[in-house]
């Protein structure tokens, strides 16, 4: 005979995310990243003391999705704006959420210098190797041979230089305590990404210095692939240029365990 089972919810929308349906494309990594960040904010109890800086990029409307105080920054200047906020409100939790154009093209100077100053900030860096919001132009992170609307024959090092691994540059700065690169394109990778984001949050809470998590993200629309293929491509091709793993860890957290 069938007994009626009672069910309890074990997975759902984090408190810190609004109810809004996002404008992100099907299969996009952004909303997964949003969920992971929101879960961490919930788990650490930070929602009411967080001030975040969204990018100019696909996540430009992030203030519609997160229930935290947010300030728009001019394109690329997120880490300068965040520096101003954190310096005058050191007790608040301040993070930037940026794409590859915002952080690694127009914002390169602000990124490197905030990292170099060891600002007590956390950055979630979404790398999809292309400019999404504006329709698929080449990014500093576009892979060799990858086609973009402004590199229709594919990225050619002779014309366009090589893909920029800015996380490695950031890791060279002494004030930076933790840099890890993860992928958003499988269950296993998403779980590792969550761990990395938690650790990056912890760095700020412990006032250790600057922390950054780079998240390789599928972009089915601008890569002109199905979600399935884009997710595969993230893990097989993107990781060749941007290998996953810890690029820097001077937190001492592992040793303490």
């Amino acid at each position: 005979m069938n007994t009626e089972l009672t069910f309890r919810k074990v997975f759902g929308r984090p408190e810190t995310l609004t109810d809004a349906v996002t404008h992100y494309c099907p299969g996009c990594g952004h909303s997964i990243a949003h969920r992971l960040v929101a879960e961490c904010i919930d788990e650490f109890g930070l929602r009411e003391k967080t001030i975040a800086v969204p990018p100019v990029g696909c996540a430009v409307l992030a203030y519609d999705y997160f229930k935290v105080d947010m300030i728009e920054a001019p394109h690329g200047r997120g880490l300068a704006v965040a520096t101003g906020i954190k310096r005058v409100q050191p007790d608040k939790f301040v993070f930037t959420y940026q794409g590859d154009g915002d952080l690694a093209a127009i914002g390169t100077a602000e990124t490197i210098h905030a990292a170099n100053r060891g600002e007590k900030l956390t950055t979630i860096y979404i790398n999809n190797g292309i400019y999404g919001m504006t329709g698929g132009q080449m990014a500093p992170t576009t892979l060799i041979g990858m086609k973009a609307t402004t590199a229709p024959m594919g990225r050619d090092p002779r014309l366009h230089g090589y893909p920029l691994d800015i996380s490695r540059m950031i890791a060279l700065c002494e004030g930076v305590v933790y840099v890890e690169r993860c992928s958003l394109a499988s269950v296993k990778h998403i779980k590792q990404a969550k761990k990395a984001i938690r650790k990056a949050f912890q760095c700020q809470l412990d006032e250790l210095g600057y922390a950054l998590v780079e998240l390789l993200s599928p972009c089915p629309t601008n890569w002109k692939m199905s979600s399935r293929d884009a997710w595969d491509w993230t893990n097989t091709e993107m990781t060749k240029t941007y290998p996953l793993g810890v690029l820097k860890d001077t937190t001492g957290y592992e040793a303490k365990k």
């Binding site: 089972l5 009672t6 069910f7 309890r8 919810k9 074990v10 997975f11 759902g12 929308r13 984090p14 995310l17 349906v21 996002t22 992100y24 494309c25 099907p26 299969g27 996009c28 990594g29 952004h30 909303s31 997964i32 969920r35 499988s186 269950v187 998403i190 779980k191 089915p220 979600s227 399935r228 997710w231």
Partner: protein, 83 residues
Amino acid sequence: MGSKRKIGKIVIDRERCKGCHMCIEVCPTKNIEEDKIRNKKGYHPARFKEGKKDQEKEQKECTGCAQCGTVCPEIAIEVYHAE
């Protein structure tokens, strides 16, 4: 004797779903399929089979592993465990 059989279920918000179908890809028990009926945005959302057995495709009972929820970009899936 033996470990308790995990039973789970999911609830998919079909209007929130954008039909990327990554949940279908990752579900280890083959309990999610594409809904033939489109949602209001015109996507074919994912659909929980809810126990309907699908003989050819080796469907097993949902265990509430939440891999679907983990990959869903829209958090359109809620996962439940039986008590």
